[in-house]
């Protein structure tokens, strides 16, 4: 992979903003996601917060890969998007299954497993 060959194709717009800003932005997005997972009680909202975490990672990877003129980071983003789609389908199926049984998706109700 020669950086020079690839650099032409990468939008220079991305590099107009300093890399640190991307890092701070993605970290903030990620932390918002974590807070959402830890504090919300609705399964769907928790789920959305997890998606937010994954997208924070995507942003960060794209920023890094643009700055390094290295396409591998962007390839990884495709993998993350594909896998996240698979995960969403399974996750929604689980939530629907639970809704059918107990008519709610509040995770607070799920406390049957205790020692």
């Amino acid at each position: 992979m020669q950086p020079n060959d690839v650099a032409v194709n990468i939008p220079e717009v991305i590099q107009q903003i300093p890399l640190n800003y991307y890092l701070i932005f993605s970290t903030a997005l990620f932390v918002i996601g974590i807070i959402g997972v830890l504090t919300r009680r609705n399964a769907i909202i928790i789920f959305m917060s997890i998606e937010l975490m994954l997208n924070a990672v995507n942003t960060l990877l794209i920023a890094f890969s643009s700055y390094r003129s290295d396409p591998t980071g962007q390839v990884f983003v495709f993998f993350i998007m594909a896998v996240a789609a698979a995960e969403v389908s399974v996750g929604l199926a689980i939530i629907v299954m639970i809704y059918r049984n107990i008519r709610t998706i509040d995770v607070g109700v799920l406390n049957k497993l205790k020692w």
């Binding site: 975490m53 990884f76 896998v83 995960e87 399974v90 049984n101 995770v107």
Partner: protein, 485 residues
């Protein structure tokens, strides 16, 4: 290494397992379910043989994506053997109206592909994809008992926690990529070596490394990231609990071993204290909480946490010796865990719980999985009693069983590094372990109970005996296995 077309053909186990999973889904269209179990076992045997075809060689596949060497083949062998045993204990699925055995078997085979990727990854992309293939399959299997609230709850908890852990893992990978500019293990390792010598800030690298490790420790259920484990293992159907606690753990530790030994060995001084703290916490929480459990299945969940602790000792004492040690320990642990779950499934099947105990939630508890269920088991069913006793002894690490040598090898790897205080904790905690493992043995041999003779299918019996014989054989002749690596 350049890409050659024949490379694809030699990554046989992954390809075979994927194809046979699809074939199983088609077999599921048939009315008769009789063919499914033998077909799955046949596919697993073929994959097992194909796995060892490259024995003694080292290959890098798919442009430095996957590495196959003897160690990876051994781990893959352990995983395939565990799956073979778990699948062969699943005969009752064919009679269960609600079950979908074709799908279950196909998902098991697909998830094995993920496990093999985790064992041999050379690129972090493969680690991520492998972890996800394995995890997503496990979310489905955990919730496979659809009408059972415990299974539902376990599936949702596992899914949310697992996805959360994946997020952390990914953020760690992204930061590592930002610091090193590479997803390849050896590339990250080179950076770690040269950057520590050069000095300068490595903040991005360290934060990334720790987030990656936290994500992986979540998956192998090490404390303080273990809190999902007891609920999930308890709620999932026993068959899949057996699979989760063996295959997922083995693959997870193989992945941790790879990344720590290839990428992070240059910064060993930086992470070993953190890992040692995690190890001690895991050992303490796993063993001490296990003592207070009334349910055997929940005890096995905590026991799996404590075994994660023993395996972590092998990682803290990272050296050439810890590779075969961890492989041996995984094998010993898998054999006895599967045998124990095999007996539990037989015992519990005959004891449906009284629904009134749990109020109106009739679907809440399937079967009695408490210690009391084992009372007097050994009198009417000497074989089951013996199988269970041997597997408990092996899990407790009593000499003449495989578990003892597993612990011995892991401990001696750590002793070479001089982590004596860690070993003191570990040995004390093994002593605690003897208490709760022997509760089952005492219940089986010395308590009065109204157990009937349990009918065991011939093949089921053979698998249980094979697991016991292997446990004892590895306990008497540990060199049988050591010579291989």
């Amino acid at each position: 290494m350049t890409f050659q077309t024949y490379d694809c053909l030699q990554m046989l186990p992954i390809i075979l397992l994927s194809l046979s999973g699809i074939a199983l889904l088609f077999l599921g269209f048939q009315k008769s379910r009789a063919l499914l179990l033998p077909a799955t076992l046949l596919f697993l045997v073929i994959a097992f043989v194909a796995n060892f075809l490259d024995w003694g060689k080292t290959y890098m596949y798919f442009r430095d994506m996957l590495l196959v060497n003897n160690l990876a083949m051994i781990f893959t062998g352990v995983v395939l053997l565990s799956t073979f045993m778990v699948v062969s204990l699943s005969g009752s699925l064919a009679d269960d109206e609600d079950a979908q055995p074709a799908e279950y078997y196909a998902i098991l085979l697909f998830s094995l592909v993920g496990a093999i990727m985790m064992i041999g990854f050379e690129n972090l992309i493969m680690l991520f994809v492998g972890v996800e293939i394995l995890s997503v399959a496990m979310y489905i299997l955990t919730g496979s008992d659809k009408r059972n609230l415990r299974s539902n709850e376990a599936a949702l908890k596992y899914f949310l926690m697992g996805a959360f852990a994946t997020g952390i893992l990914l953020f760690g990978i992204a930061l590592l990529y930002g610091a090193t500019g590479s997803f390849v293990l050896s590339g990250i390792g080179n950076y770690a070596h040269s950057a520590t010598n050069a000095g300068g800030s490595m903040l991005l690298f360290y934060v990334g490394m720790f987030m990656l490790l936290i994500g992986m420790l979540f998956k192998v259920s090490a404390a303080p990231f273990h809190f999902w484990t007891p609920d999930v293992y308890d709620g999932a159907p026993s068959l899949f609990t057996a699979y989760m606690s063996t295959v997922v753990k083995t693959a997870g530790f193989a992945a941790l071993l790879r990344i720590l030994s290839v990428s992070f060995s240059g910064v060993y001084d930086f992470w070993w204290v953190a890992m040692a703290v995690v190890t001690v916490l895991t050992l303490l929480i796993g063993n001490i909480t296990a003592v207070y459990q009334a349910s055997f299945k929940r005890m096995m969940a905590y026991s799996s946490i404590s075994h994660a602790g023993y395996l972590l000792i092998g990682l803290v004492g990272l050296s050439q010796a810890s590779k075969p040690a961890i492989a041996f320990y995984s094998l010993a642990y898998s054999l006895s865990t599967i045998a124990a779950f095999g007996v539990l499934m037989l015992v519990a099947r005959n004891r449906p719980l009284n629904a009134a105990v749990f109020g109106d939630q009739t679907t809440l508890a399937r079967t009695d999985e408490h210690y009391d269920a084992f009372n007097g088991l050994a009198r009417k069913n000497p074989l089951l009693g013996f199988v269970m006793a041997v597997s408990m002894l092996s899990l407790a690490g009593i000499p003449l069983t495989a578990g003892f040598w597993g612990k011995f090898m892991v401990f001696s790897a750590a002793a070479d590094r001089g982590a004596v205080w860690l070993l003191v904790v570990a040995v004390l905690m093994s002593a605690v372990g003897i208490y709760y493992y022997f509760r089952v043995v005492i219940a089986m041999y010395f308590r009065e109970g109204q157990t009937d003779t349990i009918r065991v299918a011939p093949f089921y019996r053979i698998v249980l005996i094979a697991a016991t014989v292997l446990t004892l054989a590895l306990g008497l002749l540990p060199n049988l296995f050591q010579g291989l690596i």
